[in-house]
Symmetry: D3
Subunit: 150 residues, 6 copies
């Protein structure tokens, strides 16, 4: 079952008839999600369909269709800022894994990701930065990104 079909069902089951709402936001959001996260968001979306399909729809429409489709800031900087924000939240391990990957997907380097995380030790403390570096290490390994030579 595709996510799109799930979200159509969601619209049905909540009894809303937003037929006038163009699917533009939804389509734009799904495309942006794919561009940014690659496949990594898809499993979460599939999982959400069972429990809260409208939440998946909000992520597509609002998260990616509205916010991440905005002009005014290049995507690479957006994703590095997101990594910084997630480090400071402290509890967002799953999101960090996804969006460290997203940052790399849209052109950030391994080094830039590490720099952003290290810098957050100043603001969120060393434990939050350390946890994030361990997640980054895992993402780098999954992608076969070699450590910088030294």
């Amino acid at each position: 079952m595709s996510v799109e079909r799930e979200t159509d069902q969601a619209a049905d089951q909540t009894g809303r008839t937003d037929q006038a709402e163009p699917d533009e936001r939804l389509r734009r959001g799904q495309a942006r999600l794919a561009e940014i996260t690659g496949r990594s968001g898809a499993e979460v979306m599939a999982a959400l369909g069972e429990v809260a399909p409208d939440f998946a729809r909000y992520i597509f429409e609002f998260g990616y269709g509205d916010v991440y489709s905005r002009p005014g800031l290049e995507l690479r900087t957006r994703m590095l800022a997101t990594v910084a924000g997630l480090v400071c939240l402290g509890h967002a391990a799953r999101e960090l894994h996804v969006h460290i990957g997203s940052a790399l997907n849209v052109g950030a380097t391994r080094e830039e990701v590490v720099e952003v995380i290290m810098q957050m030790a100043l603001y969120a403390g060393f434990p939050a930065a350390l946890d994030a570096l361990m997640i980054a290490k895992k993402v780098f390994a999954e992608r076969g990104l070699a450590p910088p030579e030294g």
Copy 2:
């Protein structure tokens, strides 16, 4: 009384004899602080001298001399990432005021700052982003930055 003198005193009063430690980190940090924050960090530093002069020294040496003097990420992106992180902390109103200014100082535009803050609503929630936008508004007003035409 200059901050430098305060921190010299601090070194004395803690009984440490780091004479071998070059003042390089301290000088580099103070220069970097000035470059990034302009004057806005100076009052806090002066204030710190009375209560915890070594803490001021750590900010200079570690914060700006070590972390903010690193290569590998351009300063404009560093400061936008810092703004993102501070929004997600939720409690860092004073730092947000300083570093929204810092982002502008190192070349970020008003629009980029607003984009980063708005985006954090996805991760830290609307109240944290809203508070940060109110602080940004104040910083923009202090600098006479006109809102974008519309």
Copy 3:
């Protein structure tokens, strides 16, 4: 200048041409905002127009037009849950002021608001609950709500 006009401008200045997007979400959201918060949200919206008019639009469209327009949970319970959540965030003083008022607006009693806040001491600690009770006290006083007799 009405908020509606500001948000129209916002749409213009971001260069997006969501003309196909029905104004239904925006209108529904503004009506829901008025129903829930009374006037208390209006000043924030006006303030936002200068710095981030699209953010005001997201609050209307997504916050109130999407989320707070959902069926499945009565509004009184929604607002008491929101008060609980804001207490646990710890940093959301302004939102707490607004939404303690919102809870009263949609039928929660003074006693219910206090019970929810007190209960959060178990989860977020006494300082967060204490701060929220001080805000509640102010809201009650502004509305001339007498304390329960004893």
Copy 4:
């Protein structure tokens, strides 16, 4: 070893002689805990006995005997507010698992739980809400609660 016996021991070993203290709060708290959480709190309590039996006693006496035994707010709303609060804490995965179950135990529907969690995305951000939805999904599955038809 029952939790009750452990907490008696705890009272002994701290040398306090609260003999005058009626066991009323303790009994009331244990009954309330059972009513609200079913069995799900019992393992944590058993585990606590080894490391901090007095903490188990405080949970019984203060948490359930005092706070959750208060009049003034129906239990169903209390538990939905607790779910909201725990989502906003961000780090309370275990408690979320227990109290999503508690909310269902005292009459909240699957749909109401999901609505409360989704709504918190506005205040605590999408990652905290997403993590909570994944926990809710697990709780629903453990109880054989079918997803709503669509």
Copy 5:
């Protein structure tokens, strides 16, 4: 109106008849509060009486009568640990003001308070520590505590 009388009223108005409950916890808690905080907690308690008198009673009974009356850790260390915890919460400015004073009341030195706060920069980040140092500075000034010579 004394706090004690308010809390008696509170007991009445919630309809509970804890007459069997000895006032021992309440009295012990009030004495411990006075010993630890001096006068600084009294205004908050008075303020609470109007909005949530039972919450004041819980602070007395549970906070000070139970937790802060425990053996097993000297009071000076308890208060320094509390200062550390409050710095890491990030949002507890009022409590920090009270309990930096409490730490001094029970024998901690100005230097020890500053050391604990500075150390928390490692765990909660520099902004949280910096805010706490500014509060400490205010408390020291209110008490006429001279800065250490240097």
Copy 6:
């Protein structure tokens, strides 16, 4: 590969030429780390070398060489304060495991650790304290520390 060698490489690869910087801070920090954490920090450091060797160096130099080498507060109190702070962060499970061990290493008793954690329930809520007690239980078991008799 020793951490020291990794950090030397790190200095090289970032192009900094801090040759004038004495290795004093680094050596002092590594010694202090060993004294406080025993072996428990070593694996994290080894792991860091691949992804962010400079971060390991900052932990040695700034964390242990600067902050934890300060006079003015006895080490036992420092570590109990750190445990308190980590409980209040909420997300620092790994660090709590390390530093509950550190507190025991520098002379704190099992009872003192438990007291500090329990006390934080007042400030950070019961879930954060409960999670920390479960971690403490694991550390105590790893060290064969018997529970207090009762």
